[in-house]
Symmetry: C2
């Protein structure tokens, strides 16, 4: 299995605090030592840092934590390999273009019988069930919406119906973003929190680090964080019910 | 205009020396200050580091130079913006999946009338003529080869014919790779060199740095480097004639 971390914010925000907690689980406080990756959106563009080395001693991870990239949307993943060997092509997040936007996807779980899923023109590069499922989602989306859709909540409802199908094949917790929306589909475990004024303090569970968000924020900032397991012990995380999804936009949960 | 740097090698090789020279042109010894990027292939996977800050003082560039990633194929680009503003989505290289492989593309030059080029399902994310032309190449390739081709020299000959068409619209120097082959198409300026035993010394033109390749190589290593302008002053670079291309595989020029 793996762990997921997503962020949606209304202002460019750095994710160093949350990432610091997640990365510890990449071989230190957790067994997810088979690579890690993170995608930051900046406008329509995005950049991904990944490594097939364990997160907790990856030079790339150290760099990303020391160089705070500010972003409104972040998707991150640490991997414990099940399907597909430890290699860069099997490291999440996966990014593909659809309707002129970069779509970023990360998966936690394991699927059976995924090879039967038709992916059409969206061919997997690596060997994971995760990327295969992503290609299938894109193929289904391109069939349903050959032209760029405009009713985005409807598009995400359709994606949720695809995720329902996938979760029948095993465990399918997913983060998906086009750089504006962040969708979190829960098959077993997914939690979220929205931080806004008055900001308080938070303490990581995986590292002896505490932050006072008050000192790092403006009064209007709204930031949501989504994870497979809560990162802090002194805050109230909301659980997404299995089989349900949450959609975030500019920091707020909108669906 | 911009500058291009490509590498093809028969063993995983670091590109720090050449990159050190190129990066200086990113706002220091050259005017290419509008972002830079580099893609390293490792197996079927690849990772890209990019920044819309000038290369010569980009923290990401510093990190990449200090953390020598060893790769058989590298494609890099430093940008001087003409079409499309300075933004991450307009920063080369561009990567798209085709036939289950990551294709990496970087362009030097400027095209007129590129908006008429049909890109079909391969939609540009940014606003550059370069990405638009890449999407058009992919669309033409997917039409000609709906299934994965097997005669690769023929595929690259076809790509060269597409590049011929593009270069009628302006300047079109291009590097393109699927992680195995590196293609260099020359419209105005492109130079290459193959380094092999007996290895000698090389001195950068853009920085007071000399390297003795003998100390960093094994006798069987073969490494080709392709650039828009030679990086060293004491080696004999080969020029690709305008309208011609070169194809490299495992360090050797094969076409």
């Amino acid at each position: 299995m793996c762990e997921l971390l997503g962020m949606s914010a209304n202002v460019p925000t750095d994710i160093c605090f949350s990432l610091g907690g997640l990365i510890q689980r990449g071989g230190h406080t957790g067994p997810h030592k088979d690579g890690w990756g993170i995608t930051f959106y900046e406008g329509r563009g995005c950049r991904t840092f990944k490594d097939h080395q364990p997160g907790y001693n990856s030079p790339v991870a150290r760099f990303v934590q020391e160089y705070p990239i500010k972003s409104r949307v972040v998707v991150s993943h640490i991997r414990q390999a099940n399907r597909g060997n430890v290699a860069l092509e099997n490291t999440h997040p996966f990014i593909r273009e659809m309707w002129g936007r970069n779509w970023t996807y990360a998966h936690n779980g394991q699927l059976r019988g995924y090879r039967q899923l038709e992916t059409g023109q969206y061919r997997p590069v690596g060997q994971t069930d995760s990327e295969h499922a992503f290609c299938w989602i894109l193929q289904r989306l391109s069939q349903k919406y050959p032209r760029t859709p405009s009713n985005w909540p409807k598009v995400f409802r359709f994606i949720a119906s695809l995720a329902d199908e996938l979760s029948k094949k095993g465990v399918f917790n997913m983060l998906l973003s086009d750089g504006r929306f962040v969708m979190a589909y829960c098959s077993t475990n997914l939690y979220w929190i929205t931080r806004r004024a008055p900001f308080g303090k938070a303490k990581l569970l995986d590292q002896d680090i505490e932050i006072d968000f008050q000192q790092h924020t403006q009064p209007d900032d709204v930031v949501s964080v989504i994870v497979t397991q809560p990162l802090t012990g002194n805050e109230a995380w909301n659980r997404i019910e299995p089989g349900r999804y949450a959609l975030f936009h500019l920091g707020e949960r909108i669906l």
